[in-house]
């Protein structure tokens, strides 16, 4: 791929202004924020179900305007620091998917499932601040959404390559775009000054063993992504299940017996999640 084409596409990706989200989620959050008795925890819980709103909130709180870039990786903390006023303006500035393609709903479900699975893994291996792992799980495919919005003409091309070659979505992205969503995630994380742990989770979830600073974060998101695919919850863009890096289990010190417990716990939670309808 020619370097200037790659640079031009990176520029278009980073020029993203508005990421659309599901009408129902936006409506629920707006309602909650307008109620005088709503608590930050309630709003944070709801926002944590939507990758676009979560990304916007984290981008805002980590912007240099507030004076602590790269520090906040929890939605709850972000809301405490931003206040409901700023949150209202975030809601106003978010548009909705008028016509929700089935794939986008599938990706939304996949992200939500990955958030839940990543949080469960982090809790099981007793990592501090499990919520931050859930946030990274939620946002791990953000690059796919941004690419779809900013380079819409290339999306059908990627899907065609996936279908024709029977390859993974990531490989097709690399062939068509010149880079995968993992790379887009890294750009966005830098551009939005997201904390380093979130950045590593987003940009190394396909190759967790290469993460340098926060290997646990990358491994947890990798595993979360793998698990939600195994349960066939949502649609990531791939029909099959990606390869599970054995190093990830080693780094997280997960034994086969733990793994079974995790699967049991997750299947219960995913059934509950499946009852949630936001479309």
């Amino acid at each position: 791929m020619a370097e200037d084409l790659r640079t031009e596409r990176k520029g278009r990706i980073l020029a993203v202004r508005d990421l659309p989200t599901l009408p129902k989620v936006l409506e629920e959050v707006s309602k909650l924020v307008e109620r005088p008795d709503s608590t930050t925890e309630q709003v944070a819980k709801l926002i944590s179900m939507d990758q676009v709103l979560s990304a916007k909130v984290l981008k805002m709180v980590n912007s240099p305007v507030y004076g602590f870039p790269g520090r906040i990786s929890s939605i709850g903390h972000a809301l405490v620091l931003l206040g409901f006023n700023v949150l209202r303006s975030i809601i106003v500035s978010t548009s909705v998917f008028e016509v929700m393609s089935e794939n986008m709903v599938g990706l939304w479900e996949h992200s939500l499932g990955a958030a839940m699975a990543s949080g469960a893994v982090a809790r099981m291996v007793k990592l501090k601040d499990a919520e931050e792992y859930a946030v990274a799980g939620l946002l791990h495919d953000l690059g796919k959404v941004v690419a779809t919005v900013q380079l819409p003409d290339l999306k059908p091309e990627i899907e065609r390559v996936v279908a024709e070659r029977d390859c993974f979505y990531l490989e097709a992205e690399r062939e068509v775009l010149g880079f995968g969503h993992d790379r887009i995630n890294a750009w966005l994380a830098d551009h939005w000054k997201l904390p380093a742990n979130i950045k590593e989770g987003l940009s190394y979830h396909h190759k967790p063993h290469l993460a340098q600073l926060y290997p646990e974060m990358a491994c947890v998101v990798h595993l979360g992504d793998f698990l939600v695919r195994s349960f066939e919850y949502g649609f990531s863009g791939d029909v099959g299940v990606t390869y599970l890096q054995p190093e990830a289990l080693k780094i997280l010190k997960i034994r086969p017996a733990d793994f079974e417990n995790l699967l049991d716990e997750l299947s219960g939670q995913l059934v509950e999640l499946a009852d949630l309808r936001f479309t």
Partner: protein
């Protein structure tokens, strides 16, 4: 026209005008009543400098074409002295003289008045410049929150009106050792974070007396209705304790303390930062003066500081 004083100002504003232009006096007379502004007009810059330094006005208006020196030179003389940096200065010029070659960033003026002048425009521009100066004068440069003058004014005003209120003084424990170890820019991040937590909490808990000020450094003040202050304190403490670990490096955070140097120069370990809040109440016009409130708060704060964890202490004598 307002009869006694300009809206935002409680007393007559002193305005010094330096210009050889004889028509200016008439324009200022038409723009302001004597109760609003006391306007002195001088045509020589040289003589004005002494007055300016010994009895500074609330605002200085300088003609670019002074008889004895260029207006901007005089402005630079005044503004290079740090005590007068905040003095709002307006420059008068002919509109025709506005060229692209003027380096506006180098001229330290706060407002520009161009001829032809009208008294209505004069009134508007001068009042705006005065109001702007009052606002920016007292804001904390880091958090942009109101500073001491506004805080004292606010408290004294509530006392004078015999209104019930709760006054909370908050500061951070072990902030200095954090600053010493990580540097002042990381310290500033913590202050910004603290300011956001307090402002959002006070705004959410609300009430007619809700107000937040930044005394300076790690000292903050907030005012709330008496029945709401405890909820605010609880929320501030919980939010601060949840968020502050994220401002430490991962290894220090895991250890739960940092190694730094104390006031005597000895290396020792310090716990993670905590927030201490002391709350004073004014009920039934009990307080007569701002000083009483701050003194009681300081005594209470010592009590709050005895606890190394984040906490708040309420003034029981009035509770």
């Amino acid at each position: 026209m307002v009869s006694d004083a300009l809206c935002a100002f409680t007393r007559t504003q002193k305005i010094l005008v330096l210009s050889p232009d004889p028509t200016l006096a008439r324009l200022f007379d038409a723009a302001f009543t004597p109760a609003e502004a006391e306007v002195t007009i001088q045509c020589q810059g040289r003589y004005a400098v002494e007055t300016l330094f010994t009895d500074p006005p609330d605002m200085l208006v300088v003609d670019a074409a002074l008889a004895d020196m260029p207006g901007p030179t005089l402005v630079t003389m005044v503004k290079s002295e740090n005590v007068y940096r905040q003095l709002p200065v307006a420059l008068i010029m002919d509109e025709a003289a506005l060229g692209p070659d003027i380096d506006w960033c180098a001229v330290e003026v706060d407002e520009l008045l161009t001829r032809p002048l009208t008294s209505a425009m004069l009134r508007a521009r001068v009042t705006l410049a005065l109001a702007r100066a009052t606002r920016s004068l007292d804001a904390n440069p880091l958090t942009k929150l109101p500073g001491n003058t506004s805080i004292i004014g606010r408290i004294q005003d509530l006392i004078d009106r015999r209104q019930d209120f709760a006054l909370a003084y908050a500061d951070l424990d072990y902030f200095k050792s954090f600053n010493d170890k990580y540097g002042f820019s990381r310290g500033d991040e913590v202050l910004m974070m603290t300011a956001r937590i307090i402002v959002n909490t006070v705004r959410a808990v609300g009430g007619p007396t809700a107000f937040v000020g930044h005394v300076g450094g790690d000292d903050f003040v907030f005012i709330l209705d008496i029945d709401r202050v405890e909820e605010a304190c609880r929320t501030v403490v919980a939010s601060f304790d949840g968020i502050v670990p994220h401002f430490y490096d991962a290894d220090d955070r895991d250890r739960g303390f940092i190694q730094s140097v104390d006031r005597e120069g000895n290396r020792r370990s310090f716990p993670l930062m905590a927030i201490s809040i002391a709350v004073v109440f004014n009920r039934d016009g009990r307080l007569k003066h701002f000083g009483e409130a701050s003194q009681t708060a300081m005594t209470l704060k010592k009590k709050a500081k005895e606890n190394p964890k984040s906490c708040y202490v309420l003034d029981k004598r009035q509770g």
